[in-house]
């Protein structure tokens, strides 16, 4: 069992599996104490109804779907709403400093979009507190020998057996720069999402799309990439932005439309109800999977959904393991060695680059173009302009220089790899945004301002083939509520 990623969801998944007695190896690019991807305040929705106001998981489910413009697959959303109260109980017992009533019990608050007060918060503390708490749990299981932490590894590639099933990963130690493979029948990906491409984002600079893109390149489907949540006052810190000559940062201008910040990507790797992607044995949870939120997230649902997905995949991945027949161990050594050699060559080619372009300046240009053309307001024209810019940046990428030639802790090579992934992911996002010719939730097209249920009440699904994104649409699961019932219909603005 391998978990790729050091996010809060990855740690929750590891801890839940270890709690069941399953040994887990966690691969993160930085120390798990320092890998919390977001500083948003802790807000978690759960229909605990402690104050007998009439809330229920059913009502939580309805509020979630309505806010998500009915784009979310319903089965998982219902499961999340039913399990959320248990998650709060578990976190409370772990010691999370939830806001409490005068009597000393958990105090829920009312959030925008919810009909009942069901949001449990840790007052003004950020997600770092939650992350550290689950880190503590992981440390306990590490002491028991159930979790093995590998804290300096970057994901390079998924290993697939001849039947196309997951059989392990290829990783690079970002200290010694050694590349190696690790065999496993189950790989759970819990890296963060794709909003880091936008430059101005509220996640951490360690959050990158490299892992996501490498998986997509290998044939893993991506869903709803055009759904990116923006906010104006997302960051409390004044140093979150990419610097460039043109965009001198001004704290006071945070209120303007030009200073939108990408806070969260609601799209991600496509998965089924078991959180398994289209590759058998590869699971995706947390922000890097597209489930739960649809076209907009209900305020307070983000963390609940992340932690629920981690908790849920612990069950479903074990079920998969119990039915997989041939184990990854049975593949030949030469098979792995060939793939390793290929990755080493790619790394050496990157290391060798010595052109006139600067990686970080290109990243900045990409980010500023995206925020203007593929930001909170888009149009077919702006999206096509963005594609032209992508082409230009793609050509200039061939002339970048990796300024650091060291064979120890070489961050520039990792940045080069990241830029390549960002350029391709940006293209994927733009193509999907062009294909969805309607406005729904966070995806607003000024040339198609109304939502079109007939054609687009479907999940955008993207397949990467022949170095290009191919967009198609998939019907959503309408298990509990039919299409847009009149009582819950909301006009999309």
């Amino acid at each position: 069992m391998i978990i790729v990623g050091g996010t809060t969801t990855a740690l929750m998944t590891a801890a839940t599996l270890a709690d069941k007695g399953v040994p887990v190896a966690l691969f993160s690019s930085i120390s798990i104490l320092n890998s919390c991807t977001s500083c948003d305040p802790v807000r978690m929705n759960a229909a605990l109804d402690l104050q007998n106001k009439g809330d229920s998981p059913q009502k939580h489910f309805e509020d979630t779907l309505k806010k998500g413009c009915f784009l979310a697959n319903q089965d998982l959303v219902m499961q999340m709403c039913e399990l959320a109260p248990s998650l709060i109980n578990i976190l409370d017992r772990m010691g999370l400093c939830f806001q409490r009533t005068a009597e000393g019990f958990l105090a829920p608050a009312l959030q925008k979009g919810s009909r009942f007060p069901r949001c449990f918060s840790a007052k003004d503390h950020s997600r770092q507190v939650l992350h550290q708490l689950i880190c503590g749990q992981v440390k306990y299981f590490e002491n028991q020998g159930l979790i093995q932490l590998h804290e300096t590894y970057d994901f390079l590639r998924l290993l697939l057996d001849p039947q196309g099933r997951c059989s392990g990963i290829i990783v690079q130690d970002n200290h010694s720069m050694d590349i190696q493979f690790v065999k496993a029948d189950v790989v759970i990906v819990a890296t963060s999402g794709s909003e880091s491409i936008y430059g101005r984002y509220s996640a951490s600079p360690n959050s990158s799309v490299t892992t996501l893109f490498h998986l997509v390149e290998q044939g893993v489907y991506f869903a709803n990439p055009e759904m990116i949540e923006f906010s104006r006052d997302a960051c409390r810190g004044f140093d979150k932005y990419y610097y460039s000559e043109d965009h001198s940062y001004d704290r006071n201008s945070l209120g303007n439309t030009n200073t939108a910040v990408a806070t969260r990507s609601l799209g991600g790797l496509w998965t089924d109800e078991d959180h398994m992607t289209n590759v058998d044995g590869l699971f995706a949870v947390g922000e890097c999977c597209y489930q739960y939120h649809g076209a907009q997230s209900l305020s307070g649902n983000l963390i609940t959904a992340d932690l629920f997905s981690g908790y849920h995949v612990a069950q479903t991945s074990l079920k998969y393991l119990s039915r997989v027949e041939e184990l990854a161990d049975s593949l030949s050594h030469e098979f792995y060695q060939l793939l390793l050699t290929k990755e080493k060559t790619k790394y050496e080619e990157l290391l060798d680059l010595h052109g006139p372009e600067n990686i970080h300046i290109l990243r900045d240009e990409l980010a500023s173009d995206l925020i203007h053309n593929v930001g909170p307001k888009r149009s077919e024209t702006s999206l096509k302009d963005c594609l032209l810019k992508m082409e230009e940046l793609g050509d200039r990428f061939k002339n970048i220089s990796v300024l650091d030639k060291s064979l120890w802790m070489n961050r520039e090579v990792l940045s080069a790899r990241q830029l390549n992934a960002e350029l391709k992911m940006a293209r994927l996002i733009v193509e999907a945004a062009i294909c969805r010719s309607e406005s729904r939730g966070v995806h607003f097209r000024s040339d198609c301002p109304e939502s079109d249920d007939t054609n687009y009440l479907r999940t955008t699904k993207v397949e990467w083939l022949n170095n290009e994104p191919h967009v198609f649409f998939e019907d959503i699961d309408l298990k509990y509520l039919p299409q847009n019932p009149l009582s819950l219909r909301k006009k999309v603005s």
Binding site: I90, G95, C97, K123, S126, Q128, D239, Y249
Partner: protein
């Protein structure tokens, strides 16, 4: 646009010798040490206009919440993402922490912090990851203490300035004692033996000499020595109990 002079202490490898690099960075409004280091990535030249490799440093949240970018700025420990450059004496000296082994440039190996958390058992032991269907009730003191001490982000600033925390002493350091105090106050903490032997020994509270440096540098202003004083009181009570029963 004005320029600010930086002097960065670099080291290419854990075993190589350190050296100083002088860099000039265009000063922008509200610029922090982190953004200065970031801008070197885009314009990697030193003050003699010679090409350099970008500086390696660790950062994560950029909001003063995670403690990853702790380093010495003009000799004082602080978070790079929260330390503004305007008003600092030039050339601004940027150095890595001294109490942790250097990996490269400003990036240090913080495994020691993880070890401390494991020794202190900085977690609540649960029966299992399922709902117990009963609700925990906390007193106001417990809630306040939990809320306050949860802010400790294990940044290592207090360890850097504590004179008793060094390679010659087995003192666990102020951070570990704060973490211990935090979990000890939670009603779900059934077992206290994780900290007991540490608390009673030189490794624990006896090691603290009340220098108060930690309180001065804590980025979240935790009353560290208050926590340590509470633990010392508990240790004294335990000590008398073992003698008199």
């Amino acid at each position: 646009m004005s320029v600010i002079r930086l002097k960065i202490r670099r080291q290419d490898h854990p075993n190589s010798s350190p050296y100083w690099e002088s860099v000039e960075v265009k000063l922008k409004p509200l610029m922090t040490v982190h953004s200065a280091l970031q801008s070197i990535k885009q314009w990697p030249v030193n003050s003699e206009a010679g090409a350099i490799t970008p500086v390696v440093w660790d950062a994560n949240c950029l909001e003063g919440q995670c403690g990853t970018c702790t380093m010495l700025i003009n000799g004082r420990v602080g978070l790079a993402c929260q330390t503004r450059l305007d008003g600092l004496d030039e050339p601004v000296r940027i150095e890595p922490l001294t109490k942790f082994p250097i990996l490269r440039d400003l990036s240090v190996d913080r495994k020691k912090i993880s070890q401390h958390l494991r020794v202190m058992k900085a977690w609540n032991l649960l029966d299992g990851y399922y709902s117990t269907k009963s609700h925990i009730q906390l007193t106001q003191d417990q809630e306040d203490s939990n809320h306050l001490l949860s802010a400790c982000m294990a940044c290592g600033a207090c360890l850097e300035v504590c004179p008793q925390y060094n390679e010659h002493s087995s003192f666990v350091g102020p951070m570990s004692l704060v973490q211990l105090d935090r979990f000890e106050n939670h009603p779900n903490r059934k077992t206290t033996d994780g900290g007991r032997d540490v608390v009673l020994s030189v490794r624990g509270v006896e090691g603290c000499q009340n220098t108060q440096n930690c309180v001065k540098v804590c980025p979240v202003h935790l009353p560290i020595t208050t926590s340590i004083a509470k633990l010392k009181r508990r240790a004294t009570k335990l000590f008398f109990k073992t003698i008199f029963g």
